[in-house]
């Protein structure tokens, strides 16, 4: 289980799960690829859960084990990996854990934004030193990808489609030549074995800065879907909320299973545009309503009740979170939410009554 001692707000995966990683490395029986800390099989166990000796390895990514296998195999073949999915489908989560398991270092990250420049992908200079001493290794500031190439490890590139296309294109030569040239120093940095890039991209951003065919071709593309069924999603949410509660030291009890099922049900129904039994159509709101949002909603409710309530998450805490999650900024969302309350939730019977009235109260304001 994650440690509770550090004061860091959010610890990287390799520290949080150091115990599991060490156990897996110690118990390694299969061949380990160059630059990796453990065999692909152990990476799979680390991510999808299983046993290592007596230690239970907690599953980090639940459901779709096959996709994880494809992702790991991709990195074995020295190809770059691109994880695509709706917001909140655990793309970054998976990429972080892949890097943590393979290299024990998930922190070599380039965060893609509209302001990301080529320098952040290649290198830049310490200008004071550059002026003082001219181009030299000392005045060179290496990017995460530069360092990953040198050390033969994995660099992560978050939200790659947020970058302008010329910045994306800087990656092409890196990925195909596996070399980074530094003309100022008349030198080239060859990538060491084990170097690869795990990029993530958001399907909602498609068309913003769509990747060029040339760059796309350098990636193996894995599409991460929303959790397949209610059960999977409930277990994902339960697990993450539990971890967050410890990490963030939320002084509240973890919501009971019934509350989690209710929240996940509402999210799935609004996401899919129909009730779980397929009998009713419902309108879909403008937001994504991802699993990640369900998790933060519950954590939020815990924070509310821990600090301002009695430490038990009640319907009122959930309702205020739901209102915020569903109704983003659009007037349309208000209608969607009210319709859902009246047509679906109201008819759900006694066990939903409390949540319904609380939601109704919040929506009425």
């Amino acid at each position: 289980m994650p440690k509770e001692t550090s004061q860091e707000l959010r610890q990287p995966a390799e520290i949080l799960y150091a115990e599991e990683l060490d156990a897996l490395i110690k118990a390694e029986q299969h061949p380990v690829p160059a630059g990796w800390r453990m065999s692909p099989r152990s990476v799979l166990v680390y991510i999808c859960g299983g046993k290592c000796g007596k230690l239970n390895i907690t599953p980090k990514y639940i459901g779709h084990q096959r996709l994880v296998e494809i992702a790991i195999s991709t990195l074995v073949t020295d190809r770059a990996l691109l994880l695509i999915g709706e917001p909140g489908t655990a793309k970054s989560w998976l990429s972080e854990h892949l890097a943590a398991a393979i290299n024990g270092d998930s922190t070599k990250v380039v965060q893609g934004t509209a302001g990301t420049t080529e320098e952040q992908i290649r290198y830049t200079w310490n200008y004071a030193m550059l002026i003082a001493r001219g181009p030299s290794n000392e005045s060179l500031i290496k990017s995460s990808i530069f360092r990953a190439m040198e050390s033969g490890s994995i660099a992560r590139f978050e939200e790659i489609t947020r970058c302008a296309s010329e910045v994306q294109d800087a990656l092409i030569s890196l990925l195909s030549e596996k070399r980074l040239s530094v003309p100022e120093l008349v030198t080239e940095v060859p990538a060491q074995r084990g170097f690869s890039v795990v990029a993530t991209a958001n399907t909602r951003d498609r068309g913003v800065n769509d990747m060029s065919a040339a760059l796309k071709r350098r990636f193996n593309i894995v599409v991460l879907p929303a959790p397949a069924d209610l059960e999977t999603e409930v277990s994902i949410v339960t697990k993450r909320v539990g971890e967050l509660a410890i990490n963030l030291q939320l002084r509240a009890e973890i919501p009971d299973e019934e509350a989690i099922i209710k929240i996940v049900t509402i999210f799935r129904e609004l996401r899919a545009g129909q009730t779980l039994d397929g009998k009713n159509k419902v309108k879909t709101p403008s937001g994504v309503l991802s699993t990640a949002e369900a998790i933060s909603l519950l954590a939020n409710s815990m924070a509310l009740s821990g600090n301002f309530g009695d430490g038990k998450v009640n319907d009122n805490d959930l309702a205020s979170g739901l209102q915020g999650a569903v109704v983003k900024d659009d007037d349309k969302d208000v209608v969607v939410w009210k319709d859902y309350l009246a047509n679906v939730m109201k008819k759900r019977g006694a066990s939903w009554r409390g949540l319904y009235s609380a939601c109704q109260e919040h929506a009425g304001e």
């Binding site: 692909p40 096959r66 296998e69 494809i70 195999s73 073949t77 071709r217 193996n220 894995v222 599409v223």
Partner: protein, 785 residues
């Protein structure tokens, strides 16, 4: 049963999974090693005479043995074989090595008997849509792993096995753990163990389980028979489903004659038929291992040219090629990377890539993460569109032979493929060719396809032709499926050739037929099928029925249908002369029943309008043939009558106007008579509704008519007006805007209003007051009428 020492030994038993290329490969090596004198194969024992045809070089697999009952209710089952079937390879090996091969399973008559009994025992659960069950019985397909639709329990066993092994599904589990075995005897031992495990879990108290035991007893009986024929156990190789591998030893008793006699039987016959990869894949029961026939054949071919390591490359290249031919470009580099990915993924499990890994690699690289992109290409490479073929004359039923003769005579052989193709036919004589046969090729094709449709053989589907009303053009969508072949074989119960079967079918239908509409439909069908004998028979039936019928609508419909058939006559090259007296008779009956039937309510009157229209068309088309003066005098009677349905009277009047048989004065008189004050609204306005259904221009040009209508409406009281409104609104409801404008112009003329102004007023928005008035009318209860 006494056992000689030789009989107590066990023969060489090779447990297989049907349609498994690895089983086929190991089996051939096993046979090479053992060099048996006799090979016994699980398959209906009475199919032995088909073996030479199965192994003939002219047979292109996949083919299937089809067993069918010789009398109704029809039951059939198929026993499919592909090149990679171990059973087929065993037969081929025997042929090559001049070794005797025999089938050893229960005769087809017993299997069909079982099916019969199961069907009657559980009519609800197992009865599919039709009496003729086209799926094969489970026994034939699924030995390696028994399927049983009635028991979901068995399904979950397979799923659990796969889950325990950490595999995404059972097929992948099987492929990785059995299909990739290479060592000598490894496959045989593995399936033997697997069969043993399965036997431990099987519930033999079910009907299916009991039948399995019966079959095994029978196979032991066949073994005993082989010993009696002088073969020693060690000279015999038995090829059977892995499930039975442990049940054929001497320690279990064989079936005796008395037991055999007690089995349910249906008289049956066997024949060979071409099969298709698509059918193989869709037939795959749980564990049958044929979900991807084209892929498995690729595996089999790789065994034979010793290139199994190239298999992933071959598979993924084929997918890329399919993608490219569909317009989606994928580079060789991507194929290379997909092969590498498939290899690494399989490495995670210490195996070679299975189909599942290849699919995943194809989606990740060739589909760039999107399964939809590669779905169709994958299906083509996995399943393929191959259709088997047999040498001419090999099919065992005369009707199959007839079918194939016709196919080649009509040059339709290219259409015998699994891919749907369109065929456009021009039924007219082709004057540019020499022989009569060639000149009417399309006509004969059309007759042939219509005959198949009449037999409900799903080979061709007639599509709508764009040009409406053309009698000479037809468009068909043709697609051959094994179901079509099965339907043809089933039709042998009706006749020896397709023509005879169709004739018999028509005869049956005519004997049962009680309505003239039905009989006239059969005449049309028979005409489309080019079956003059059937037309004659149907003609007689129709005549008999027409004598007793006085239902106007049925008579009119039949007359019309017959009129069409006679019109077809020229195009369809058949003698329409004998039908003409019948047309005359039907027309006469119809005309005479007109007035009697016209005394009816509103709903019936509406349907009669269509009938009157049809008869009138016939009267115009065949005026020389039928008694036109009679028709006209009947119409006049109807037009003048006051006691019949007013709509029909009006309609008859309209027909007479159209034929110019009513002068302007007469019409004016009639209108004023019908619309005179005091006549109930439903009679007056109803009549006008009938009148207004035809030749509107003739009405629009007669100003006097509108004057009278105007007078009539003015003369109505408030209450009467409301009633009349219903009819008038209906009468004008389907007038076009142009026609309505013409009416307003007429009325404007009468009222002395400027035409433009009138139409402006009518097209303007409603005022509040008018709206209110109309709303009031909406509240009016029309139901009371």
């Amino acid at each position: 049963m006494s056992k000689t020492p030789a009989m107590s030994a066990t023969p060489h038993i090779f447990g297989v999974r049907h349609l498994s290329p690895t089983a086929a490969w190991h089996l051939r090596q096993f046979l090479d090693r053992i060099q048996p004198k006799l090979v016994l194969i699980e398959g209906s024992e009475n199919a032995n005479h088909l073996i030479p045809h199965i192994v003939s070089a002219k047979s292109k697999l996949p083919i299937a043995i089809l067993a069918y009952t010789t009398d109704p209710p029809v039951r059939t089952f198929v026993y499919p074989l592909a090149t990679y079937s171990p059973e087929y390879q065993a037969l081929v090996w025997c042929e090559e090595n001049k070794v005797k091969a025999r089938f050893m399973d229960l005769p087809s008559s017993v299997f069909l008997g079982f099916m019969d009994r199961n069907r009657t025992a559980f009519p609800k659960k197992e009865e599919p849509k039709s009496e003729t069950q086209k799926e094969p019985p489970g026994e034939k397909e699924e030995e390696g792993a028994e399927e049983n639709e009635a028991k979901p329990r068995t399904f979950s066993i397979y799923e659990r096995v796969a889950q325990l092994a950490g595999e995404p599904d059972y097929e992948t589990y099987w492929e990785r753990h059995f299909e990739q075995l290479r060592g000598e005897n490894s496959y045989r031992n593995a399936t033997r163990n697997f069969g043993e495990e399965l036997r431990g879990m099987e519930d033999f108290s079910t009907r299916h389980g009991a039948e399995t035991l019966v079959r095994e007893a029978y196979m032991r009986r066949k073994l005993q028979q082989a010993y009696a024929d002088g073969f020693k156990p060690e000279q015999i190789v038995v090829v059977t489903g892995a499930f039975h591998a442990l049940a054929l030893g001497p320690e279990l008793a064989a079936m005796n004659d008395e037991e055999f006699a007690r089995l349910p039987q249906r008289e049956s016959k066997l024949t060979l038929m071409p099969y298709s990869f698509f059918k193989l894949s869709s037939q795959s029961g749980y564990g049958a291992g044929n979900h991807a026939p084209a892929y498995f054949e690729m595996v089999w071919n790789a065994y034979n040219d010793n290139t199994t390591t190239l298999l992933p490359a071959r598979f993924l290249t084929s997918v890329a090629q399919e993608l490219r031919s569909g317009g989606t470009f994928r580079s060789t580099a991507e194929v290379i990377d997909s092969v590498r990915l498939a290899g690494t993924m399989a490495d995670l499990r210490n195996s070679l890539p299975t189909l599942r890994e290849l699919q995943d690699a194809a989606v990740t690289l060739l589909g760039q993460g999107d399964p939809v992109v590669v779905r169709e290409s994958l299906l083509r490479v996995e399943i393929g569109t191959r259709v088997g073929a047999l040498a001419k004359g090999v099919s065992q039923t005369s009707i199959q032979d007839d079918f194939y003769r016709e196919l080649s005579r009509l040059k339709l052989e290219p259409f015998k493929s699994g891919v749907k193709r369109d065929l456009d036919l021009d039924l007219r004589e082709n004057r540019r060719v020499k022989s009569a046969e060639a000149a009417f090729l399309d006509l004969h094709r059309s007759s042939f396809l219509h005959r198949l449709s009449a037999l409900e053989v799903p080979f061709g589907k007639k599509l709508n032709v764009r040009q409406e009303g053309t009698t000479w053009a037809e468009r068909w969508a043709l697609q051959w499926t094994p179901e079509a072949e099965i339907a043809i074989v089933e039709a042998v119960l009706l006749g020896e050739t397709i023509e005879l079967a169709v004739a018999y079918k028509f005869k049956q239908q005519l004997e049962k037929c009680t309505s003239i509409t039905e009989a006239s439909t059969i005449i049309r069908q028979a005409c489309e099928c080019g079956m003059s004998a059937s037309i004659e028979l149907a003609r007689q039936t129709l005549q008999r029925l027409a004598n007793d019928s006085s239902d106007f609508n049925a008579l009119a419909a039949a007359t019309y249908e017959l009129g069409l058939v006679i019109r077809y006559g020229d195009v369809r090259q058949f003698e329409a002369e004998p039908l003409k007296p019948l047309l005359e008779q039907l027309f006469l009956e119809g005309a005479l029943s007109l007035v009697a039937n016209a005394n009816c309510d509103l709903a019936a009157a509406r349907s009669m309008v269509a009938g009157i229209n049809e008869l009138n068309k016939i009267a115009l088309d065949y005026s020389a043939l039928i008694d036109e003066p009679l028709w006209i005098s009947e119409l006049q009677k109807l037009a003048r009558a006051d006691h019949l349905s007013p709509i029909l009277s009006g309609y008859a009047c309209a027909l007479l106007v159209e034929r110019n048989l009513i002068s302007n004065e007469e019409l004016a008189r009639e209108v004023s008579r019908r619309l005179s004050p005091g006549i109930p609204a439903d009679l007056g306005a109803g009549w006008f509704e009938g009148l207004a259904q035809r030749n509107r221009y003739a009405l629009l040009t007669r100003l006097s008519l509108w004057e009278q209508l105007d007078q009539y409406v003015k003369g109505l009281s408030e209450e009467e007006f409301r009633r009349a409104l219903v009819f008038l609104r209906r009468a004008f409801g389907d007038f076009s805007p142009q026609e309505k404008r013409n009416i307003t112009e007429n009325l404007g003329e009468i009222w002395g209003v400027n035409a433009e102004h009138a139409s402006e007023v009518l097209n303007a928005e409603l005022t509040e007051k008018e709206k209110k008035k109309l709303d009031e009318l909406s509240d009016f209860n029309f139901e009371e009428l």
